[in-house]
Amino acid sequence: MSLISDLFSIAAIGAGVFFFLAGTVGLLRFPDALSRLHALTKADNLGLGLVVLGLLPLSDSLLAALKLVAIWALVQLAGATAAQLVGRAVRRKGSAA
C-alpha cells in the first residue's frame, strides 16, 4: 500500500517538475512578453498542482492536506489575476508606443 502511494507521489511530483521545466523552456524560447506570460502561468500552475497532488499522500493529517490544496488554489488565483494584470499592462504599453 505504501509502495503504491510512494510510486504515485513520485510519478506526480516528477510530472510536476516536468511542467516547471517546460515553463522555463517557454520563457527562454518565446519571442514576446505575452507568449512568455502564457508559458509561465500555464506550466507553473500545472507544475505546482502536480507537486501538491504528489505530496497529498505524504501529509500527516486531513487538515494538512486541505492546507496543501488551499495553497494550490491560492497560487492558481494569484497566477491567473497577475497574468491578466501584467498582460493588460503589456498591451497598454504596446498600444501607446
Binding site: A33, I71, A83
Partner: protein, 93 residues
C-alpha cells in the same frame, strides 16, 4: 523518498533560476514582474517539498502566507504603473 523530494526541490529551484536569468534582464518591466511571479510559484513548490522532506513544523503556514501574497507585487506594479489614467489624475498634475 526524502532524497527524491529534496532533489526535485533542487531541480525546481534550478529551473526557476534559469528562468530568472532570462526575465530579470527584461526587456520590459512586465517581463520583470513575471520573474516575481515565477519565483513565487517555484519557491512555494520547493518550500513544500523541503518541508515534506525535513519535517520542519509550521512550514505549511509559510507557504500559505506566500501563496496569499503571490499576486501582490504584480498588483502594486499595475496600480502604480498607470497613474495618468482616469479623470481625477488630471487635476493632480
Amino acid at each position: 523518498m526524502t532524497d527524491f523530494l529534496l532533489a526535485t526541490a533542487g531541480v525546481i529551484l534550478f529551473t526557476v533560476a534559469v528562468g530568472l536569468v532570462r526575465i530579470l534582464s527584461g526587456p520590459g518591466d512586465a517581463d520583470r514582474m513575471m520573474a516575481a511571479q515565477l519565483i513565487g510559484t517555484g519557491g512555494i513548490g520547493a518550500l513544500l517539498l523541503i518541508a515534506a522532506a525535513t519535517g520542519a513544523r509550521g512550514v505549511d503556514d509559510v507557504a500559505l502566507g506566500l501563496a496569499l501574497l503571490a499576486a501582490f507585487a504584480s498588483a502594486a506594479f499595475v496600480n502604480s504603473a498607470a497613474p495618468a489614467e482616469g479623470p481625477d489624475a488630471a487635476d493632480g498634475q
